[in-house]
């Protein structure tokens, strides 16, 4: 009879099971919270840097940014909290407003395409866009950021109508080669669905945002 053979363990009592489970749960909770607290500042920093990178990409020449919230009542700094669409106001080195950036999204080929676009109130036009999230077909759908002719669609005319409640001309994506006005986007042949998604997203966002933003643009021009 070997003394190294382990004895069969007696079935554990309920209280023992609860003790162990509870103990392990507390240990896990402690480890997770510890990691969370340690990494939170770094993660926040990364997130801000990612947003800034996109904002400065669509509004070239900008060096600083401030966040604002836009809703039916007007515009206020994002730090004040509350509801509304978040927009990023970007200023150049002299403190002049270069434009604002906002998010837009629409259903593309595979899933929703999310973009960040820049709007310059001086020319009332959309200066460009950057892709935030896209699962479109690589090589086809991602042409929207590489195709020179597609990028030549910008700056895009986004003037408001006389009543200020909507765009003078709705932004729309048209078939490749049939663009007639500066508010239209010439689609990439072979990637029409993704091109249309960009157009739809821009139109939806601009129609909702710009009428509410435009009357208060001067508020944004003051950079603290």
């Amino acid at each position: 009879m070997s003394s190294t053979a382990p004895l069969p363990a007696a079935p554990a009592s309920s209280s023992r099971m609860i003790q162990v489970l509870g103990g392990i749960a507390m240990l896990s909770g402690f480890l997770v919270v510890l990691t969370y607290q340690l990494t939170l500042p770094r993660i926040e920093e990364n997130r801000q840097r990612a947003i800034e990178r996109a904002v400065f990409q669509v509004l070239p020449g900008a060096t600083t940014r401030r966040d604002f919230l836009v809703d039916d009542n007007g515009v206020r700094p994002a730090s004040e909290g509350g509801s509304g669409t978040r927009v990023y106001a970007a200023y150049d080195a002299d403190g002049r407003l270069k434009g604002i950036a906002a998010e837009a999204g629409a259903r593309g080929y595979q899933d929703i395409v999310r973009i960040l676009y820049g709007y310059d109130p001086a020319c009332e036009c959309i200066t460009g866009f950057a892709v935030l999230q896209s699962t479109e077909t690589p090589g086809l759908g991602d042409k929207i950021v590489k195709d020179a002719k597609f990028l030549a669609n910008f700056p895009l005319d986004a003037r408001l109508a006389a009543d200020g409640k909507q765009l003078a001309n709705a932004i729309v994506t048209v078939k490749h080669g049939s663009k007639t006005g500066p508010w239209q986007i010439d689609a990439i042949s072979g990637a029409t669905i993704t091109s249309t998604a960009v157009g739809k997203g821009l139109n939806n966002s601009a129609q909702m945002l710009l009428p509410r933003l435009h009357p208060h643009v001067d508020q944004l021009k003051v950079q603290p």
């Binding site: 969370y36 629409a106 259903r107 080929y109 595979q110 899933d111 077909t137 998604a197």
Partner: protein, 194 residues
């Protein structure tokens, strides 16, 4: 975020972004259970049931976690909910359909480690679906899972009677089949886009 129609969510989860063939979730049961058509169908339905229960519970838990700012507990609570849902389905199946319970055997508790279920919970949270959208998403994902399993099982049952090279027997052949199925399903891309 645009309010996606329920039909779109269902079709998207079932066909366009099929959980198995496009999102690579649930591969282990897909390769393991799809040898016989009957087992595959039962497994598919059991998984769909678990998906539905988990989706609803995950939605509830997430609302709680967000309300109390405890988002770092999300993963642990989701997996706990899934394990409980599987246990629940196992017990009810044992009671109401013992033959099915015996047929599925070890695969039932293995539904807990099916990435499709946890993936479903995580995706629906990331997409910020409301309650009805989450249910539609879960049903769509389940339907897609059943579809993929049935297709694979049908193909494999046929192939058992065919002569295949010995080096391809087993998982290698199933993977090649899956690749072709996945390629075929890519044709559905754009379905539902206006």
């Amino acid at each position: 975020m645009h309010a996606d129609s329920l039909t779109f969510i269902f079709l998207n989860a079932a066909i366009v972004n099929n959980f198995v063939l496009a999102l690579f979730l649930g591969i282990c049961p897909f390769l393991g259970v799809s040898a016989k058509l009957k087992t595959a169908v039962s497994m598919g339905f059991a998984t769909t049931l678990v998906m539905l229960i988990s989706s609803i519970c995950a939605y509830a838990i997430n609302s709680l976690l967000v309300a109390y700012d405890l988002e770092f507990l999300r993963l642990i609570s989701y997996i706990a909910v899934i394990a409980s849902a599987v246990q629940l389905v196992e017990m009810s199946m044992k009671k109401f359909s013992p033959a099915l319970f015996r047929a599925l055997g070890i695969f039932l508790p293995l539904i807990t480690t099916n990435c499709a279920i946890l993936g479903l919970a995580l995706f629906q949270t990331a997409k910020e679906y409301n309650f009805v959208q989450s249910v539609s998403y879960a049903l769509g994902a389940g339907a897609g899972f059943i579809l993929a399993l049935v297709l694979m099982a049908g193909l494999r049952e046929k192939l058992e009677l065919a002569e295949v090279p010995s080096i391809s027997q087993g998982a290698a052949l199933s993977l090649m089949l899956a690749g072709i199925l996945s390629l075929a399903f890519m044709g559905f891309a754009g379905l539902g886009a206006q």
